[in-house]
Amino acid sequence: MITKIFLITVFSIGTIAFTGKGAAFAVSAEENYKFYCTQCHGSDGKGEGANSKPKVVGIDLPEMSVTPRNHTNPEDMNKLTDTDIESAISGGGAAVSKSTIMPPWGKTLTEAEIKDLTAYLRKLCKCKGK
């Protein structure tokens, strides 16, 4: 057991050191979600974060008309595979042929953190995806 913990610790530290990104401290998917994702997706994941509100009516800026995905909607979230979600988080909307208003987080979060976030989204939608 101790050996296992030791190996996991060494591997985690190695991963962080190697990639040079992600939080250099233990962060749960929920904490990452609260810190980063809630800006647009809202604290309850319904897509109603501070940046989601219509800004100025009548201005031709289609980018701002895109609403953040509701992570609690199982119908919507079921259309996505876990790989789709991971790609969207890592490469932003552009990586999955969606709006660039969803920025890329691949240089902010580690791959492991992105996988954890994907699992967290599955908890929010209570769905398994395609």
Binding site: K21, A23, A24, F25, V27, E31, F35, Y36, T38, Q39, C40, S43, G49, A50, N51, K53, K55, V56, I59, L61, E63, M64, G93, S99, T100, I101, M102, P103, P104, W105, G106, K107, T108
Partner: protein, 222 residues
């Protein structure tokens, strides 16, 4: 130039230099003194480098760090803003939900000028001069709005109105306050300035030329 003239200059020059040095020193000391007496340090970090390592470290901060003010801000804007503060962040510092209704303390004109002078002495070696040119270009606009959608979190002017997200600082008049060199350095080496922040890291996503174009576009918003 005869010997008496040389003698006169030898006296005048050092006295002038001493006068300038003393005036600068006194003013600087005053600005620093005012900063301390007003307890500005209780919300603003003036000692670099950045020490935040965790979300909590960032979340317990009450206001933006100022240890690289002289590289980030334009002096005229600092002088004006410290006397008549306006809202830069639509949401409260560190909040993603609450509207920013905080009123930043205002200084008298004399105090504002002296504190601005002091803040301008706080610089970061990572901000080189002449890296990016303040310029609104179609490329810059395209990068800001379409390619990287900075507008999702930061507002800019669209005609007489503003458009954009609210979780990041308002950039509609960013060029009055920010230098293009700092915006470029911030994109290039974000961890130097803010190791823990809500904005994504764009290093190795936005290339160097695009960063310069973006920085120029942001610093030209007035």
């Amino acid at each position: 130039m005869n010997a008496s003239n040389i003698g006169r200059w030898m006296l005048v020059l050092p006295v002038t230099a001493l006068f300038i040095a003393l005036s600068w020193g006194v003013s600087l000391a005053d600005g620093k003194g005012i900063f301390a007496s007003k307890n500005c340090g209780s919300c603003h970090q003036i000692q670099g480098p950045a020490a935040e390592k965790t979300f909590d470290d960032q979340l317990k901060k009450k206001g933006p760090e100022l240890w690289y003010s002289g590289s980030k801000f334009k002096k005229e804007w600092l002088e004006e803003w410290l006397e008549k503060p306006t809202t830069i962040r639509p949401l409260k510092y560190n909040s993603v939900t609450d509207k920013n209704t905080d009123k930043h303390p205002a200084l008298s004109k004399k105090e504002a000028d002296e504190v601005a002078e002091y803040l301008m002495t706080l610089t970061a070696k990572e901000v080189a001069k002449g890296t990016a040119e303040e310029k609104v270009t179609p490329q810059g606009k395209n990068l800001f709005i379409k390619r990287y959608s900075c507008v999702g979190c930061h507002s800019i002017k669209a005609g007489a109105q503003k458009v954009g997200g609210v979780s990041g600082p308002d950039l509609s008049e960013a060029g009055k306050r920010l230098t293009a060199d700092w915006v470029y350095a911030y994109l290039k080496e974000p961890k130097v300035f803010k190791p823990v922040k809500r904005m994504p890291v764009f290093v190795d996503i936005i290339n160097d030329n695009e960063m310069k174009t973006l920085a120029g576009f942001v610093a030209a918003q007035k």
